[in-house]
Amino acid sequence: MAIFEQGDVKIDVDEDGFMEEPDQWNEKVAVALASTEGVDELSEDHWKLINYLREYYAKFGIAPMIRKLCKETGFPLKKVYEMFPSGPAKGACKVAGLAKPTGCV
């Protein structure tokens, strides 16, 4: 476990920079985590994706299937990669404060 600090954001993260305590997430945290993913500014589309991920996570306790995410947000996978260069799991989920996906995914 490590501590990620940027400005007044201070959170516990794992070796890959995923949040250890998703409850500590807020919009400032998202902005700070996005900067570690090469995303300097969070657009409306970014927030739409982040909010979808958070709502799904709150309901089911895991990240959604990538295909479901694309269908329900209307973003093709290519667009998700444009928004989050590390992709939906390693990029978008991290910024949305989800724990790192587990298993053979």
Binding site: E15, F60, I62, I66, Y81, P101, T102, G103, C104
Partner: protein, 535 residues
């Protein structure tokens, strides 16, 4: 010229780092991947992590045990290791693997034939650390001197100093082998270096509580607790399959309805649950094929049984047994005639081979590979195919567990020869094929810079082999498909392709076998496999 000459004695001597990995030493990849300067730069292990964790083996870290704070802690690690090793040689504690292990302990002729068979050793530029025999020889000397306490073993079998550094490095080194068993296959005597890797990991996990987090804490422990290593409980998995059914119905124009908990079904299909999350077209394609063939099939919504993974296979016999028993119990409860294992190599080995040692009596439900079932279906005449829909170059990756270990070589090939006009083999292939580089859990391990290592080093030989199979059409103008009927291999191949930007540079995509079958079905809307949507 080899730069480093690593001695066994170097292993136990404390130093900043035992060996370095230099991309200049790597075997070259074909163009346009041949420029060393284009190799992605490795992520650095953070200095604060290095200070507090064991990172002195090579340029990466897989387990990263905390450094000891006191001499007592140092001693404790060494003592626990020796007592754990002792158990490996007791029949009551290791009846599963004792015989093969004794053979591997006593009969290595040090001929080094196995060394050239190892894709990690070769791809790294013949780094001595990765010789299959280097790890085994350290283990062998420790066993002779500290476990068997053989008189004068330092002279007869070679000396080794056993201290904290030795054990800590050995923990890491046991996670630099994919357990592909290419070395075991080539050994003239039958010594199994991969088994030694496995047995080392087993001592670390079962006796010392040390294992890679992704396969233990976030893997088999999570599977036994929640029902799946993906974190899906029974409700979520059903919800996801509902979604896949709807999605597949849209895409194929055929009404798809997956089956749950059908009592007395002819077969119970177990997927690697990672497919459901990351490659939904795979379970979707299975459902389409089984329905079209009129098979009375089902899946189980019982916790653990809807996830075919059994990570214990790679590191812990107890975890393996716990999961295998759950799989068999679910099948028994439904009263199905057999279990069919989906496209997952390690699940094949775990449930159909190794589990034989724990599934006794009526738990010994018949188990079959999806490969033979699919062959029967494809050639049954029940489904109409148009192979011209698959008229693009296709090559086949052989998952080690399914092919080298179990000898399931031809069923998938007969399907591909029939349905894919441009099918071509890799060199070598079948039981001699190379591991994807993600075996034994590596495909899901990515902490620190482990992805760099498992792609650029352990996956390198595979990537080269894949590219070579398309040497007649390397450019992006030709759409190409790599068939990899294994979830773990797919995860690794996805990461290799992404790392080297292979979709863009070579128009290369990957997927399973069932996707190719569905893509060729006359009743399905054309274009089930799409290069545009692949990413």
């Amino acid at each position: 010229m080899k730069k480093n000459k690593l001695k066994i004695s170097d292993f136990s001597k404390e130093s900043d780092q035992l060996v370095h990995i230099d991309p200049k030493d790597f075997i070259p990849l074909p163009p346009p991947y041949d420029k060393i300067e284009d190799e992605p730069i490795w992520k650095e292990i953070k200095p604060e992590y290095r200070e507090t964790h064991e990172c002195t083996l090579d340029d990466t870290v897989a387990v990263g045990i905390p450094k000891p704070k006191t001499p007592e802690e140092e001693k404790e690690l060494v003592d626990k290791f020796v007592s754990g090793l002792r158990k490996l040689f007791e029949k009551e504690n290791n009846w599963t693997f004792l015989q093969q292990l004794m053979l591997s302990l006593e009969h290595c002729a040090k001929c080094q034939t196995c060394v050239d068979a190892c894709p990690i050793y070769e791809a790294s530029g013949k780094n001595d650390l990765y010789r299959p025999t280097y790890r085994s020889e350290i283990w062998r000397r420790i066993v002779k001197k500290y476990v068997q306490k053989k008189p004068f073993s330092s002279f007869t079998d070679g000396d080794i100093d056993l201290n904290w550094t030795t054990v800590a490095r050995l923990i890491e080194l046991s996670y630099r082998c994919t357990i592909c068993r290419r070395c075991a296959q080539t050994c003239p005597v039958g010594v199994d270096n991969a088994l030694i890797t496995h047995e080392l990991r087993k001592v670390f996990s079962q006796e010392m509580g040390i294992a890679a987090k992704e396969i233990h804490e976030k893997g088999s422990v999570l599977q036994l607790k929640v029902g799946s290593s993906t974190g899906m409980n029974s409700e979520v998995v059903k919800d996801n399959i509902d979604f896949i059914d709807e999605d597949m119905t849209d895409i194929t124009g055929i009404e798809v309805k997956s089956k749950w908990d059908v009592k007395g079904a002819d077969l119970m299909l177990i997927h690697n649950a990672g497919e459901i999350i990351a490659w939904p077209e795979n379970p979707g394609a299975f459902a389409i094929i089984l329905e079209a063939a009129g098979i009375n099939w089902t899946m189980s919504s019982e916790a653990v049984a809807y996830d075919g993974i059994n990570y214990g296979l790679w590191y812990d016999d107890v975890q393996l047994a716990r999961v295998a028993i759950k799989h068999a119990q679910a099948a028994k409860k439904l009263g199905v005639k057999k279990i069919v294992v989906g496209e997952c190599g390690h699940a094949h080995k775990a449930l159909t081979v190794i589990a034989d040692r724990v599934l006794v009596g009526d738990l010994n439900v018949p188990r079959e590979s999806a490969m033979t079932l699919l062959e029967d279906i494809v050639f049954s005449g029940k489904i109409k195919f148009d192979p011209s829909r698959n008229d693009f170059p296709v090559t086949l990756h052989d998952p080690c567990n399914m092919v080298r270990l179990m000898g399931i070589v031809e069923p998938q090939r007969r399907i591909l020869r029939y349905l894919c006009p441009q099918f071509r083999e890799m060199t070598p292939h079948g039981v001699h094929n190379y591991c994807c580089g993600g075996g034994s859990g590596f495909a899901i391990m990515s902490a620190h810079n482990f992805t760099n290592w498992r792609v650029a080093v352990s996956g390198r030989k595979k990537f080269k082999q894949i590219l070579d199979a398309y040497s007649d059409c390397p450019g992006p103008e030709t759409k190409k498909y790599l068939c990899a009927p294994c979830s773990n291999c797919k995860g690794q191949i996805r990461d290799i392709f992404q790392y080297y930007n292979a979709k863009e540079k070579s128009n290369l995509i990957y997927g399973g076998l069932v996707e190719l079958i569905v893509n060729a079905m006359v009743d399905v809307k054309p274009g089930f496999i799409s290069w545009e949507d692949a990413f």
